[in-house]
Symmetry: C2
Subunit: 257 residues, 2 copies
């Protein structure tokens, strides 16, 4: 005999088991997110242990900041769980970034309030701008159309750290290989192979989207105006760029960079 623990719970008990309120249960029921298995004759909600498991999953996902709608979808089709988590991870990192900006801004503002007795709004404005400028991780955005930006954000969210690392390693290897083949004829099979790898990596970023490709090209054309700090990280040696361009042309591709 199994220990026959209670198999049905009333709203109150059930809510307490998962640390939520009865009102929340009503809400979830209303949304169709969690419907009690049955109702008693008088209309009371009767929850089961299976319901408890589901509710606990809801609570977990909720604590990760997911909206109830998505949770609903996830629980009906858990195959997208991975991607949802990736996306959410990205979202949370961004929120944290903004929070940190605000926190630092307040700290600076407090310092300035300590010396000057009256608030200096011009100064505050400055502080915020500077902080925003400082961590301009997204200085690239100005090259993309609104439309393209949205698409990029979409795809960014799905890049796992491993993928990111793998890709940057592939780029590094590709650069090294090109470096060693600068003497080759751009039309040679070897050069064409390199151009192929290049295209594949670029394609991995653009996803084949012409809007994104356009932005990337624009960004590349404006190299002179990149922020100094990024020059080193992103700039491609002219010889390499020239070589690849020639190889691309020889191969008949229109992709610019």
């Amino acid at each position: 005999m199994k220990p026959k623990t209670q198999t049905v719970y009333h709203a109150r008990q059930f809510a307490e088991l998962a640390g939520v309120t009865v009102r929340a249960l009503h809400h979830y029921d209303h949304l169709g997110l969690l419907k009690p298995l049955h109702r008693s004759a008088n209309g009371y909600r009767l929850y089961s242990d299976a319901d408890l498991a589901r509710l606990e999953q809801i609570v977990v996902l909720k604590s990760l900041g997911l909206p109830l709608k998505q949770i609903h979808g996830l629980l009906n089709d858990k195959s997208t769980l991975r991607q949802t988590l990736r996306r959410q991870h990205h979202v949370l990192l961004e929120k944290r970034g903004q929070l940190e900006n605000a926190i630092r801004a307040i700290e600076n503002a407090e310092k300035s309030l300590k010396s000057k007795r009256a608030p200096d709004w011009e100064f505050f404005k400055q502080i915020l701008k500077e902080i925003e400028m400082q961590n301009e991780t997204d200085w690239t955005t100005k090259y993309y159309s609104k439309d393209a930006q949205a698409k990029i954000e979409e795809r960014k969210a799905l890049w796992s750290p491993e993928m990111q690392e793998k890709v940057s390693k592939e780029w590094a290897e590709l650069f090294a290989d090109i470096e060693g083949s600068l003497g080759e004829n751009p039309a040679s099979p070897k050069a064409q192979t390199l151009a192929g790898r290049w295209r594949k990596l670029v394609h991995g970023f653009t996803g084949g989207d012409p809007e994104i490709q356009k932005g990337l090209n624009a960004m590349y054309a404006d190299q002179a105006n990149w922020p100094e700090k990024q020059q080193e990280n992103y700039q491609i040696r002219p010889e390499i760029h020239a070589f690849i361009m020639k190889a691309m042309k020889a191969g008949g591709s229109a992709t610019k960079c």
Copy 2:
């Protein structure tokens, strides 16, 4: 002659100057947060440079995460700016903490998803609990009534880092001084002075609130169940405690610890 730049703006222009939408202007107007100086005959909102200054302040405060209601109050009575910023700083730090929990939880969950193909909800639950347990900065809360907790939070938010440091230094000094006076008669003026300092420091925390005092007492009485890590930081040597209790009694005070 000063450069007579435009002195009145229509909604659209004005909004762009501060990087907000026209709808937001309507909203602020509706709330009474920012009313345009006048309206044109046809009912159009006409904003002035003074309005611009105010709008910019609104934008700054909003970016710090302050609700419009509070901003409204602040702009009418800037004397509370300091405290509001302190409070907000505290709020933001807490939000960041929660975000970090969620972020770490997702990262762990992703790891576990990598090995096992199916989501292991029990495991997720565990992860969240552990992370919550791990940074239990507020293990003390369980000793306070809901009411008292709210009050404590209120006061915490107003403690500047400097205050905090000053207070803990004062406690350290007091402990040292008591340590050197353990041989004294608890009724002696010297002991009474020490007891007075003790009371003042406790009062600084309780704010004279009996609810908070009660919680503090309860917490102290339950020393045996404190989390291990905190034992060292918070525990008071029994000799010192005993001495102060005697001195308090001798002085006729009812304060327990």
